[in-house]
């Protein structure tokens, strides 16, 4: 008999045993394989720049990546904040980077800045949503997917020297759970050293007291722990951006030339640009991407799925399979639809009935009206007839009267000797006529 019973004893559940190797196997090339695979795939990195118009966002991007991204200057007359993403392909030695820079155009320009943060939050959520949709697809290709989720948000603080503006606090608070925020002080060449020191302390104090979680450079890996810890203390970075080159000493450096001196971008004494570049690109780019995926994206995914009604386990702590949940949801939805349909149909039927009744009422009244009208007409006709009769009688009487009077006058002429008798006749005649006149009502 074919013995296909399965007996499995797996030792994988308890702690795996360590083993010592007798010689060189060769799997230490695994990280290299991973790296070369990533290189062929290419990397994508998405930066969001939030700051007021004219604060130096585009210049800083140009300076950071040592190239000129052609963008038109934003006007100050935007109706609302809008986000402008632009993608560039950069290559350095054999690494290809797909860089997307998203600019929040019009931030801080409106008179009413209540809803300034909303377009930004919506954009970030939309990118998460796209990734989630791709992940939930049946035939998915996450390998090829162009990741557009924002990996880091550079928040440009205006160098007033006092403290954070309330717009800054509100926006950062809204963004801190969705994206890694690195606050930077822009145009740092307008603040003096002592002012800057106080400003930085003030900003960090305000951020902490308002509970804003900015991105902390990771200190758990020994290789980078030290440098990251040092950099953490220098947040927020005070940067100066410039794409112009000025001759200092005997070489050309990127700097800003003022009548009173030259501010060199890459000089650590002048500004923190080098620190920002180190942290952002050379040391922590991968960590930023990982945090976005494992922390911010997972949070979004969890909230979204819970919103849609999925759960991990029901009351009996039996894990729900996604399929069951889908089916249940679908049934619910369909039954809901059916119920609504029934309701509408019911309503429709009722309405029809009501209208019918009304119409019937109307008809009845109409009939009554007709009936009354006819009666009225009958009456009228009768009255008309009577009138005509009366008129005829009156006419007849008048004629007779006229005839009698004519006779009387004749009689008067003929026999004027007998006035008494005529008078009597007259009287009689007038008496008759008066009798006649009386009898006609």
């Amino acid at each position: 008999m074919a013995a296909t019973d399965l007996e499995r004893f797996s030792n994988a559940e308890p702690e795996p045993r360590s083993l010592s190797l007798g010689g060189h196997v060769g799997f230490d090339s695994l990280p290299d394989q991973l790296v070369s695979k990533s290189v062929t795939q290419g990397f994508s990195f998405n930066i969001l720049c939030v700051g007021e118009t004219g604060i130096g966002k585009s210049t800083l991007m140009n300076t950071l990546f040592n190239t000129t991204f052609e963008t038109e200057e934003a006007s100050h007359h935007e109706e609302c904040v809008r986000l402008r993403p632009q993608t560039y392909d950069l290559q350095e030695s054999n690494v290809q980077l797909k860089l997307t820079i998203v600019d929040a155009v019009g931030f801080g320009d409106q008179i009413n800045k209540d809803e300034s943060y909303r377009p930004i939050v919506d954009y970030i959520d939309a990118q998460f949503e796209n990734y989630l949709q791709e992940e939930l697809k049946i035939r998915r290709s996450l390998f090829d997917y162009h990741d557009t989720r924002i990996h880091v948000c550079l928040y440009f603080i205006t160098p007033t020297g006092h403290s954070l503006k309330s717009l800054d606090l509100v926006t950062m608070k809204k963004l801190d759970s969705k994206v890694n925020i690195i606050p930077i002080i822009a145009k740092a060449d307008t603040i003096s050293k002592s002012e800057l020191h106080k400003f930085k302390i003030k900003i960090m104090g305000e951020l902490v007291s308002n509970g804003v979680q900015i991105y902390q450079f990771p200190t758990d890996d020994e290789a980078v722990a030290e440098i990251n810890a040092v950099m953490n203390a220098h947040l927020p970075f005070a940067v100066v951006g410039s794409t112009e080159e000025v001759k200092v000493g005997n070489k050309l450096v990127r700097a800003r030339q003022y009548p009173w001196g030259v501010v060199q971008v890459e000089n650590e004494n002048h500004c923190d640009f080098v620190k920002l570049r180190e942290m952002l690109i050379r040391v922590n780019m991968e960590d930023l991407r990982e945090q976005t995926h494992s922390r911010h994206y997972e949070l979004y995914r969890r909230c979204k799925l819970e919103e849609m009604g999925f759960q991990d386990s029901d009351g009996d702590s039996q894990p729900f399979s996604l399929q069951e949940t889908y089916e249940a949801k679908r049934k619910e939805f369909l039954s809901e639809l059916q119920r609504k349909e029934e309701e509408m149909r019911q309503m429709f039927v009722n309405k029809v009935k009501e209208t019918e009744l009304e119409l019937k009422e109307k008809e009845r009244l109409h009939e009554k009206f007709e009936h009354l009208k006819r009666l009225h007409q009958e009456e009228k006709r009768k009255v008309e007839e009577k009138r005509r009769e009366l008129e005829e009688e009156t006419n007849a009487f008048n004629r007779r009267k006229a005839a009698v009077e004519a006779l009387q006058s004749q009689a008067l002429h003929a026999t004027s000797q007998q006035p008494l008798r005529k008078d009597k006749d007259k009287k009689k005649a007038s008496g008759w006529s008066s009798i006649y006149s009386v009898t006609i009502p």
């Binding site: 074919a2 190797l21 090339s29 632009q86 050379r282 894990p319």
Partner: protein, 290 residues
């Protein structure tokens, strides 16, 4: 002043067709430091690799695994010892953590004693397929959880090594059935076991016949043609494909040859040294799974 030939500009306000910029930069930006960051992270996290070895008993599976990883993963069964033939197909997993030059590898080897050993071997691949699918299912369940772990433990079988007995003729029906069913679910690497029982000419002829058989039955073994990503891949993979199935000899005893200490099999007519094809495509197995 500007050392660049052209500056990148977006083609539309929602640019999805970016321009390429090659940089001979005056200042170095440091994008390639991301590779080091990746490496450090990978080394910290460690790697996981799950192999399954399938073949009839006595073909040298355990010895092969021991030789491959140069350590005693298993006690290989010595001939002569009366080991009772397993009556049912069992799946036996062993996990080890091995480290080399700072790279930690969590290796899980799954053996299938009893495969193809019964008289009626009908559907003997079912438990194996079931096991493979179960690992996939487990991973999927973890992946679609709402609060999922940062690093999902990967128990999916990355590579299945199938031992073909060295008959010298061609693939047997059992082999064909098994390979056909499994090549769709997992990366299968067929090897000719105990290749020291074939002469070089016999070996080459056997190899060609097996290749023809695989082609006739459209069995795609690793590295699969359909997953070739670019030209370099194609070149490398076609070289490997010419040599499939690999003829291997397992040996875990050391002998002295010309003053060198070598792993080999000692016979009356000489010592056979074992060497293996490069492990560079082991990592590829892991990746092509993703």
């Amino acid at each position: 002043m500007d050392p660049l030939r052209h500056s990148p500009s977006p083609s539309s306000s929602r640019a999805s067709s970016p321009r390429t910029l090659s940089c001979e930069r005056l200042g170095y930006v440091g994008i390639e430091a991301v590779l080091d960051q990746l490496k450090i992270k990978a080394m910290k996290m460690g790697f996981e690799f799950n192999i399954m070895v399938v073949g009839q008993s006595g073909l040298g599976k355990s010895t092969m695994v021991n030789t491959l990883f140069k350590s005693k993963i298993w006690k290989s069964t010595m001939p002569g010892l009366r080991v009772p033939m397993p009556q049912t197909l069992q799946l036996h997993s062993v996990t080890h953590v091995i480290e080399e030059n700072g790279v930690k590898l969590k290796l899980t080897v799954t053996d299938t004693p009893g495969f193809g050993d019964q008289i009626n071997n009908d559907k003997c691949w079912d438990p194996i397929l079931g096991y493979i699918n179960e690992q996939y299912e487990r991973y999927l369940q973890e992946e679609i959880l709402i609060t999922r772990q940062r690093h999902i433990p990967d128990t999916r079988v990355h590579c299945c090594i199938y031992f073909v007995p060295p008959t010298g003729h061609c693939l047997r029906p059992l082999d064909l059935e098994f390979l056909q069913r499994l090549c769709r679910a997992v990366n299968v690497v067929p090897v000719i076991a105990r290749a020291d029982s074939l002469t070089i000419e016999e070996r080459e002829a056997f190899r060609h016949r097996i290749q023809d058989d695989l082609k006739t039955h459209s069995i795609e073994v690793y590295p699969q043609k359909s997953f070739d990503e670019d030209v370099n891949d194609k070149i490398l993979n076609s070289k490997i494909r010419e040599r499939i199935p690999f003829a291997v000899v397992g040996a875990d005893r050391e002998h002295m040859v010309n003053g060198r200490c070598v792993l080999g099999r000692k016979t009356k007519w000489g010592i056979i040294e074992g060497h293996f094809p490069c492990l560079s495509w082991l990592g590829g197995c892991e990746q092509s799974h993703a």
